[in-house]
């Protein structure tokens, strides 16, 4: 990427903050995400969640989803926060905020498809991390949720160019990042990185956003980037991709990202990948329902 292109991306990304759609809780939330879990108080999270009625309602709906596996549906914000745990509430809140921050009216990409992929990848990241020893599942979840942040930037500030990329990807049945590169000369990885840095997201999350299509470029968070890379591929192969047929063969075990992860986690050798794939299918229907409820036109808000 040329220097002028990088400057251009950064300048265009600057516009995002001046847009009115960003919910008021968003920036305090980002600050909270940057601090360690011990420093975050339950009441503070409850306050943040309750700040905006629409977001509160969305949060409750997401929290009630079987994805989070609560035995009882939460009746109040506080109950939801306590039973879900702070990290989960943070990621739920983030999902809801992002949904509002990027109004999807003119997206070249179907927003429901985008959210299905993002939440799907988040779910796969968490399930994947459950197979590994001492991996923070909620961190992985958040990384999966945010990895394609750049698509939102592209939808919003590079709408015309991105529409052409989308059209090429569907027509040629190629991965979207390849189509982006062919038509725009850059991808959602760069635009996502620019926004993530501007928002001061955690360094490892920034690396995930920047390098999930080229794991070897990650300097300080390679295992997490590898985990997201593999989960992203799995999602795209199991019905949670970008809504079109991607003409490709995915050999996860031969993927360099697998070797990266295996170096840190020998236990990966024992994973039955076929069974893992079938198990993931169980959550696909849930993701569809969840996204239709939270982001789609479907069911009224509670």
């Amino acid at each position: 990427m040329t220097v002028s292109l990088a400057v251009n991306i950064r300048e265009r990304v600057q516009q995002i903050d001046t847009m009115p759609a960003i919910p008021a809780v968003f920036l305090p939330l980002l600050k909270m995400l940057g601090s360690s879990t011990e420093e975050v108080k339950v009441d503070e999270v409850v306050r943040l969640v309750s700040y905006d009625n629409t977001i509160a309602a969305q949060c409750l709906r997401v929290a009630s989803s079987p994805l989070f596996g609560l035995a009882q549906l939460p009746r109040s914000i506080k109950a939801a926060v306590i039973s879900l745990g702070l990290r989960r509430v943070e990621t739920i809140l983030l999902t809801c905020c992002l949904g509002q921050a990027f109004p999807p009216e003119k997206w070249p990409l179907d927003p429901e498809v985008f959210w299905r992929h993002s939440l799907g990848c988040a779910m796969v990241c968490r399930k994947f991390s459950e197979k590994l020893i001492s991996v923070d599942g909620e961190k992985a979840y958040m990384a999966g949720l945010l990895h394609d942040l750049g698509f939102m930037v592209n939808c919003l500030v590079f709408s015309k160019e991105f529409a052409a990329a989308m059209e090429l990807a569907c027509r040629e049945e190629i991965p979207l990042y390849q189509a982006e590169f062919a038509t725009m000369g850059f991808t959602h990885c760069e635009t996502g990185q620019a926004l993530a840095e501007k928002w001061k997201l955690a360094d490892d999350i920034v690396e995930v956003i920047a390098h999930h299509h080229a794991v070897e470029l990650s300097q300080n968070a390679r295992p997490l980037v590898a985990l997201v890379h593999l989960s992203d591929l799995l999602c795209r192969m199991r019905g949670l991709g970008y809504g079109y047929y991607e003409r490709q063969k995915v050999d996860l075990i031969s993927d360099p990202a697998w070797a990266v992860l295996l170096k840190e986690h020998r236990e990966l050798e024992g994973v039955d990948l076929a069974r893992f794939t079938f198990e993931l299918d169980e959550s696909v229907a849930e993701i569809h329902t969840l996204v239709a409820t939270v982001f789609g036109s479907a069911p009224a808000r509670s």
Partner: protein, 302 residues
């Protein structure tokens, strides 16, 4: 955005709450997987529970717990497992059973094999439908290959070998007459192009399709015969290995591996897997389906 349906994974209708699942079905699911490699994902557990219900009725059992005992306690547990496997795979014999598999074949695998073999003098593609039952699979493959005959496979010779242990199945397969139920996934386009009408409810496969296929009786456990099945590019073996015990299964899989050309693919049933019975094959993903790949010499992945 134009979108193509991506996989066979159908979401639940929005807002529909699934009924609570008897935990014994999950136990049975795990047992079935361990024995056969077939995995029924949560949203397809009804297929398993329906199968169990039919078996319970035949056996005069009233509770799932009693049925679990039947499946796990000697004597007769192997026999009962076999009955159950029959029940849960019964609906899978129809033409065009798995569209994601056919898409992977035509959109990804064939172009790859054709490219790999361009330098060979004889352009020949060999496919083996192992355990072809009453012929639905080989005919489906033959029709799809004919569709490519003036495109990808122009100038190629396609040979399909279809074998089954059961003489009666082989005879029925040779006849090539199918009723509505077997044709429920066959589009009008294929019906018109590749069948002639026998009567209102029966269609006969056209001679040009039959010409591609050689039917014969073969026992997959007959080692001496298996040695003569070499040079295959694709092997399909759907819901056959599930009835074999671990040792025989491993042996047959090894034969398949040896009989495949480098760069060839091995396909199982939709929810079937090799578990971890073979570490030479690479499990590979295509949109909505998995297959096992014998790496090509040029891939450097052997």
């Amino acid at each position: 955005m134009t979108s193509t349906p991506q996989s066979a994974l159908t979401p639940l209708a929005s807002g529909k709450i699934p009924e609570a699942i008897d935990p014994i079905y999950r136990q049975i699911r795990d047992l079935v997987y361990k024995v056969s490699g077939i995995y029924k994902a949560e949203e397809k557990l009804y297929l398993l529970s329906d199968g169990c219900a039919r078996r319970m009725k035949q056996l005069g059992l009233r509770t799932t717990r009693e049925y679990w005992d039947q499946l796990t306690a000697q004597p007769g547990r192997d026999g009962e497992l076999r009955h159950l496997l029959n029940e849960i795979t019964i609906g899978e014999t129809c033409l065009f059973r798995s569209q994601p598999q056919l898409d992977a074949l035509r959109k990804v695998i064939l172009p790859e094999i054709v490219k790999e073999k361009t330098k060979q003098i004889t352009k020949r593609l060999r496919i083996w439908s192992a355990g072809c039952s009453t012929g639905e699979e080989p005919y489906t493959l033959a029709m799809n290959m004919l569709e490519e005959s003036d495109r990808l496979l122009q100038g190629w010779t396609v040979e399909i070998l279809a074998t089954d242990l059961n003489d009666r199945s082989v005879e029925t397969a040779k006849a090539g007459i199918y009723v509505d139920y077997a044709l429920r996934s066959t589009t009008d386009y294929f019906k018109r192009k590749y069948f002639t009408m026998v009567d209102e409810k029966k269609l006969l496969v056209r001679p040009e399709v039959k010409k591609l296929i050689t039917f014969s009786r073969l026992n997959l456990q007959d080692d001496s015969k298996m040695l003569f099945m070499k040079g295959m590019d694709l092997i399909f073996c759907c819901n056959v290995l599930i009835y074999f015990d671990g040792v025989s299964k491993s042996k047959v899989i090894n034969h398949f591996f040896t009989n495949l050309n480098f760069g060839g693919y091995f396909f199982l049933g939709t929810s079937e897997s090799l578990m971890k019975l073979n570490d030479q094959f690479h499990l590979v993903h295509f949109p909505g389906t998995i297959a096992y790949w014998k790496p090509s010499l040029s891939s450097g992945k052997l």
